[in-house]
Every structure is written in structure tokens, then in C-alpha cells.
Subunit: 339 residues, 2 copies
């Protein structure tokens, strides 16, 4: 079944010209009689010619592909970021390689290596677990890389990230303003630096208000189950510590918050009357829950677009290298009814 690809040569033969002529005709390049040009173009359409971007990339050393590396597809946050990236990529006639890492650093490295083998022009890594190591890769290969939401020390690599610390402070401040004092944290064991930042916001803000950051539980992952499991562990601990449930729970992200909500309801606790709850990210469903979730909105789509723009700049300016630059984006506190 595998028809042989029809190539530039085939149409050259048919048109009675040489292959470079065909190439030029199709590119609108160079000066040539519009007679032959039209004839060639017409011919190409007739026999259904599709240029091989692979071969082209091999000679131009530009594949017009970029790699996108995410922890998992099944996360609404990354999906939306990816959507932004893809839009911007398509706008510039770039294709996307996609790979997931499963939050496994080794796999992340392997994936990036494969992408390099695929001759991608650049790579975007979201929520990297090995951020620092890219400096070396960058040095060795010159492969443009942009990191999304990886707080990398040293700051020697392009990155664009959300100000989680500040966002977390806004969230916790809001809880304090509402009068809650026993504020617990549900963290994500696999959240890496992101978890660190959000947790730090919690600790610092509570301390600033002379409140204790006394109770935190880490879920095994950042998904729904992760939130449920954390909540199940949290409640008895609160009972031991305070003789009562926490007045508020500040969650690692919206998804875990949803997982926690289910457990709270199951235990007969009402939200926010008995326990208030906040999320992080403002994923789409957040507004549709009962009660609607108070959270911190990350400009996910825009972050994707900006990351892709930054990458394209790196790709096109490789003659005069742009110094590594960290773009930090601000979120927005979204107050709904869960807290």
C-alpha cells in the first residue's frame, strides 16, 4: 500500500525541467518565466505533490518543529498552556512534538534527548523537574529552551513562570481576612519547586499574621485522588491537634481541592461554613463547582503564547544570542464562595 512519495524530481521530469527549477517555482523564488512557473505549479497540484519537510529540514537545518514536554496530558492546567503554545506555533507554521514525562526526571531527560535527535528547533518544558540541567544541554547543543513554571536557581536559562509565592500569599491573606485562624495546607508530594513556593507563601503569611503554620499534609500526587487522600489524613490530625477540623484549607491546586471537597462533604462538613477551601490555577470547572471555588487564576493560555513567542525569538536570534531571561507573570485572586 505504501505508495512511493512523489518528489520534486517526478514533477521535474514531467515538466521537462530540472529539480532546482521546480523548487524555485514552488517557492516563488528567483526570476523565471511565469509561463513555466505556472505550468509547474499546476502540475504539482494535479499529481498531488506534498513537499517533504523532512528533507527540507535536513538541508536548511531548520525543522520548523518544536518540542513540548509536559508532566502529563491529563492535567487541565497543562492542556490550556499547550493550547496557547499550539496556537502561536501554528501562526508561525511550526509543528509540535509532544511528550509527557510522568513527573519522572529520568524520562524527562530521555524525552528531551529524543527531541534533540528529531532536530527540533527548540524545546518548551513545562513544570520541569530537572531545570538546572538544561544549562548544560544548552551549552553543549545550543538548542533553545524555554521553561514554564520551573523556578530554576541561577537563572541562567530562559523561563517564564507564574509568581506562585505572591499568589499564595494573596490566597492565605484572603483566608486570614475572612477570619479563619486554623489554616491547614494540602500539598503535593510530587509538586517539586512549585509546591515549595506555594507552601512557603502559606508559612510566611501565617507567621506574618502571628498565626501558626501548624498543619500540612502532602498528597501523593496533584490529582483528584491526591487531594482526597490528603484530606482523609488531614482531618484526624486536625482533630488531634485542635480538637476540631481546620477552619480553612489552602490547597496546592484546584484539582486537589476538588478531591478534598468530596471528602469533606462525605464527612458531613459543609463548605465554607464548617471548612473553607481554596484552590490554585482557576481551571475551567472551578467556577462550576458547588460551591464555586475561590482560587488564584494563572494566565495559562497567555503563558503558553508567551513561552512560544520567547522560543521563536531565541530560534531566530541565534546569531546574536539573547541573554537568559526570566519572565514572571502575575495571577489574579478569584473570590468565589468556597472561602
Amino acid at each position: 500500500m505504501a505508495k512511493k512519495r512523489i518528489s520534486i524530481k517526478d514533477i521535474a521530469k514531467l515538466a521537462g525541467v530540472s529539480s532546482p527549477t521546480v523548487s524555485r517555482a514552488l517557492h516563488g523564488d528567483g526570476r523565471m518565466s511565469s509561463a513555466t512557473r505556472n505550468r509547474i505549479i499546476q502540475l504539482a497540484n494535479e499529481i498531488g505533490y506534498t513537499p517533504s519537510l523532512v528533507a527540507r529540514g535536513l538541508v536548511t537545518q531548520r525543522s520548523h518543529c518544536v518540542g513540548l514536554v509536559v508532566p502529563t496530558f491529563a492535567d487541565p492546567f497543562h492542556s490550556e498552556v499547550a493550547q496557547g503554545i499550539e496556537e502561536e506555533a501554528r501562526r508561525h507554521h511550526y509543528s509540535l512534538f509532544l511528550a509527557s514525562t510522568g513527573v519522572d526526571p529520568a524520562r524527562e531527560l530521555a524525552v528531551v534527548r529524543t527531541m534533540h535527535g528529531r532536530q527540533v528547533d527548540g524545546i518548551i518544558v513545562s513544570a520541569s523537574r530537572v531545570g538546572n540541567q538544561y544549562a548544560e544541554l544548552l551549552h553543549d547543543t545550543g538548542l533553545p529552551i524555554v521553561l514554564i513554571n520551573a523556578h530554576v536557581a541561577g537563572n541562567n536559562i530562559h523561563s517564564i513562570y507564574h509568581d506562585d509565592y505572591k499568589g499564595g500569599c494573596q490566597l492565605v491573606d484572603h483566608l486570614i481576612e475572612r477570619g479563619y485562624r486554623r489554616i491547614a495546607y494540602i500539598g503535593n508530594k510530587r509538586g517539586g519547586q512549585i509546591d515549595v513556593e506555594r507552601r512557603r507563601a502559606w508559612i510566611d503569611t501565617l507567621h506574618a499574621a502571628r498565626l501558626p503554620a501548624a498543619l500540612a499534609v502532602n498528597g501523593p500526587n496533584g490529582r483528584l485522588q491526591g487531594g482526597s487522600i490528603a484530606a482523609e489524613q488531614l482531618l484526624p490530625q486536625a482533630q488531634t491537634l485542635w480538637g476540631a477540623p481546620p477552619q480553612a484549607i489552602y490547597c496546592y491546586n484546584d484539582t486537589m481541592a476538588i478531591g478534598a471537597m468530596a471528602v469533606l462533604r462525605q464527612q458531613g462538613l459543609r463548605i465554607p461554613t464548617d471548612v473553607a477551601l481554596t484552590g490554585f490555577d482557576d481551571i475551567d470547572v472551578a467556577a462550576f463547582l458547588e460551591p464555586p471555588l475561590t482560587t488564584l487564576r494563572q494566565p495559562r493560555h497567555k503563558m503558553g503564547v508567551e513561552a512560544m513567542k520567547a522560543l521563536l525569538t531565541l530560534i531566530n536570534e541565534e546569531s546574536n544570542p539573547v541573554p537568559p531571561q526570566a519572565t514572571i507573570m502575575q495571577g489574579e485572586l478569584i473570590i468565589r464562595h468556597s472561602a
Copy 2:
């Protein structure tokens, strides 16, 4: 900054051998002194050689890439399918090109064309809007294609899809068994053939029970807002028709059901006491809602895996072409508390 790629030749020069020798050494191919082989492999690692899969693909005519085409990333259903596809792809050392169509047939065609130009070995299209047209493409290019959840007439193309009709019947049957009689449908204007199947199940099942399929409203899309908008239109129409809300609403998918739930609550209607509700797909959050959503579980992950397996078979058996085949998968009725 763009370091020139280090190639097989570079390491040949360093090892004092010819490039074919290096190629063979790296492939474990042919017979050769394990001394030189080891030396070459070591050398390759030292200088950080990464083979160009592009060049390799050009000569072997096999890129080890497949294209994945989805309507949008921001849909939990497709995300999970994609996850399955990616896992199976990685298992076979295949990379994934990803593109979204935005449910635009023209863009879908353009995207597939680009993928062909990228020399992908095959393509998986999820929820295609132009299913029939692939037969022609297949005929012209011999490019293996597998369709997911595109009910294509004529059945002349490989596809794997979920039995939406049967699933829909189960759902509506369940509603009838629970004693609901005024059962409305919230459809998806952009749902294409999928909407047709699910709607048909609703109509047929109601008729079989001598109940009228009297009220259906289409949301503008299959997302949360789509569900909300549909519900807002549905309620007054039900009032006109029945002088009361519907007793149950059978929704196009879980996401729209969530959108509808929010509206129902807003209008003071309790679920399922006042209005029962069903979804479709069993996306992850479905079980975590209040109330947990009764729905029909599609084996999303497995569908992805199976699609990729089917595609790989097509790719590897292209000498003796496999006849087009439709694999139909059965879902599972998940009864929770919303109906």
C-alpha cells in the same frame, strides 16, 4: 549559539574509521571486533553524539513519528485518549506530532496535510469531522490512518469507536427505570456524528417506552459554557411545554452536564430530587461532583492504546495491507447519585 550538530562522520574521524563502521557499531549490526566497537561507542558517548532521526528517516523512509489530531487539547476526554496513545507510542519508540483542529474541517484537512509533509508513518484522528474524505487520502498516499470515534459511513477506513448508541440507550433506560418520564436532551451543536448517535439513542429509547422525545436543546459547544447555555434555554421551554422542569436531563457529555448542573442549582433546583442528570464519558471529576454524576464510562485510555496498536499494525503490515476494520468498544454504565 547554534553549535553545529556532531555527526557520525565526526566520530568516524576521531576513531580513525569510516562512517559506515560507526553506523554499524552503534547499531550492534554486523560482525566486527568488539574492540573497535566499544571504542566507538565510548567515543560517541564522550562527545555527546545524538543521532539525527531526521536523516535516518529520510533514508529508511520511516520516521518513527505518528500524527495525533484532536479537536482541542482542553477536553479531558481527548487528553486521556492521548495519554494512552502516547504510552503505546513510547513503548515502540515512536514520537508524536500533535495538532488541534478547533473542530474546523478545513483546518483538520490542512493539519493532516502538514503531517503528511512531515513524513509521519501514520495518523490518528480523534473525533474527525471529515472522516469520509480520508479514504481518498489513503488511496493517494497509502498513509495509514486510524480514526477514533468518527462514525464513518461506508466503513472503508480503519476506525475504533465507542458504541455511543448503546451507551446512550443504557443511560436513558436507567432514567426510565427510575421512573422519570419527562426526559430532555442537552445536545452539542458541534458534536457532529457523535451527537447524532447519542441523540438517536435518546429518541429510540423513549419511543420504545412510549414516551415522547419532546424536548431537546443544543448547546453551542461541548464545553462547560455550552452546557450552561443549553440549560438556560431548556428550562423555560420545559415550562412552556410541561409547565414544569424536566424530570431528567440526558446530557451530551459530562462536561456539559457540569455546566447544566451549575444552572440548575442557581435556579434553586435540586439534583436529583427536582431534576435528575446524566453525563457521558466518565471524566475524572465526574465522581467528585456534588452529587456524583451518573454517566457512561468510555474506556478512554484503552481506546488510545488500541488505536495506536492498530496504527502500528498498519504501518508494519503495509506489504500485505490489512482490510479496513472497525473496532467497536463497549462502555459501562456508572450509576452514582445524580440520577
